[in-house]
Symmetry: C2
């Protein structure tokens, strides 16, 4: 059993109230007793119970972080950002994985509420808007990160996918490319649509027409396969460069290029999206669009702290950055 203030009180021969006050340097306690009791507490290894404190204060100094799975490299960086800011603010973080399963997502939110977390951060949920009725009940602030649901009545921090895609396209245009393809995926339609929209818009802004034969959706489940399959159609459409939905698609494309003896970037320039670690290691190292994942997490937690403090906050949209490596070159 951990030491309690009553234990200390008994040893010190005072009431537990005095101990409680002495430990927080309450001015009405004599300096003498304060010091005596603090020394005693130290020596007895007293650590206050957050459980008891929370019951009284109605605050747990705890937040819940709902993620699909920690295996996702996105999530990892975001969690790191959240944890950094949380720790600095004396908050602890509960990790709760939903496996992209709506039922489980509802269940973990309930668990978090049961634990009386002060706020909840949800990363990359595909559900999001689903649990509105649940949210009315639990009155804690909820912050959504990169949510793919359309319902937007919750606070959110997100990356500007369209801007990122535009960045990639502009880079290729500035290298002189005119026939620029896009290789997308089918299993994340909303996200894909946002990135494709950025591609289209930037294309228009550059005064180039959108050629539908350059926009490719391989009918495969894994991103890597999408990239591998996509190459042939790109070549058929006479593309000299390509924006990929993400880095894994791009890496699949690079693999196909190697097999078919297409040299990158001489014959084909390739741009990815996400800046995952392997992008550094592939040959050639991949030019890609980086999301500020760490910042995303930090901002989300900062927003959460504001909300807990009862302040108003504004939704945030963060810009992406282009990371130029060796998979792109002039035409």
């Amino acid at each position: 059993m951990p030491v309690t203030i009553k234990d200390i009180a008994r040893v010190a021969g005072v009431s537990h109230t005095t101990v409680s006050r002495a430990l927080k340097d309450h001015p009405t306690i004599s300096r003498e007793t304060t010091q005596r009791i603090q020394a005693l507490a130290q020596q007895m290894g007293y650590i206050p119970s957050a459980v008891a404190q929370s019951l009284l204060s109605r605050q747990t100094w705890t937040i819940g972080m709902v993620i699909t799975t920690i295996a996702d490299p996105f999530v990892v960086k975001v969690v790191e950002g959240v944890e950094q800011v949380a720790q600095a603010a004396k908050y602890s973080v509960f990790l709760a994985t939903s496996h992209n399963n709506p039922e489980q997502e509802v269940a973990v939110v309930e668990t978090l509420h049961r634990r009386r977390v002060d706020a909840i951060i949800v990363a990359s949920s595909r559900v999001g808007s689903l649990y509105s009725s649940q949210l009315d009940r639990i009155q804690v602030p909820i912050v959504l990160i990169n949510n793919n649901a359309e319902g937007e009545y919750l606070h959110s921090v997100a990356v500007d996918d369209a801007q990122g895609a535009a960045l990639a396209l502009q880079h290729l245009v500035s290298l002189g490319h005119r026939r620029i393809g896009y290789v997308g995926v089918n299993n994340r339609p909303k996200l894909n649509r946002r990135r494709l929209a950025g591609y289209r818009q930037a294309l228009a802004q550059a005064g180039l027409a959108v050629d539908p034969t350059l926009i490719i959706y391989p009918d495969r489940e894994t991103d890597l396969e999408c990239g591998q399959i996509g190459l042939q159609k790109l070549l058929d459409a006479q593309a000299t460069a390509v924006c990929c939905f993400n880095d894994v698609v791009a890496i699949g494309l690079l693999m196909a290029c190697r097999e078919q003896q297409i040299s990158v970037p001489e014959q084909l320039s390739v741009v990815g999206f996400d800046n995952i670690e392997p992008a550094t290691y592939v040959a050639p190292p991949l030019t890609t669009v980086a999301q500020p994942l760490l910042v995303l997490g930090q901002r989300a937690m900062e927003m959460t702290l504001h909300l807990i403090a009862g302040h108003k906050v504004q939704d945030q949209r963060l810009s992406c950055q282009l990371v130029v490596r060796q998979s792109t070159a002039p035409v």
Copy 2:
């Protein structure tokens, strides 16, 4: 304010005691009232407070997971395993990062104790044995995962690095290699030593002598550089194959091979360690030793549950597996 049993009691016109009992199907409450109250609770959106329950029961159904940083790919998988088992057992997980800083490690352990977690799991600590005095105080079970500290009085789950390294070497021997190098690193001496020991032992078992010129420690900080620098010495020592400390070292080596036109695996067979994601994407895909990271986390949490239940447990050592890809071939 969340709904409490007193709120329900008021509405139902009974005492809060009755509500408490009705909600857990206590046999002494009439079926009629039980049903009435359960329906009412449901309708009012009642979720019991784990905080209040914990105060009384002295159990929080909570564990703390101490990690250096979530950015480490190791840690990610391990956390996933822990979380899986924890969630299934109705436990919630606090994430606490120590950044490999002893002071911070002590601080986070204190925070976890303050939150009255039922147990603590520490992953890959470099400190480990340091906080023994702290541990005497907080009376919860502690499980160490892959701890690099020597003090072994705590419960632990670890991977058998020596066995893994031996696996790599045996694979190369079976392919007919006789001059097999090892490229290590300097900044994780204990881990490096364990893997090197496995290499040496397997070499002896295969009836081969240990040639010191084949054992290389590049004087660089990053693993990637160690691999890049290591190549020349390997060639000087006339190695036909090499075991690397980890995959990143191996990838660095592959990069150097490409630059110097050394073809892998024809001229040099390369084996990594860890089986990180990029190992799949590099050219050629890397043969490597995989640690059962997910299982490591699962076992650690299972052990934790046993300890919480008051059972005796035995320390565990898990075997690695060889993943053969295309970076190795017969001499």
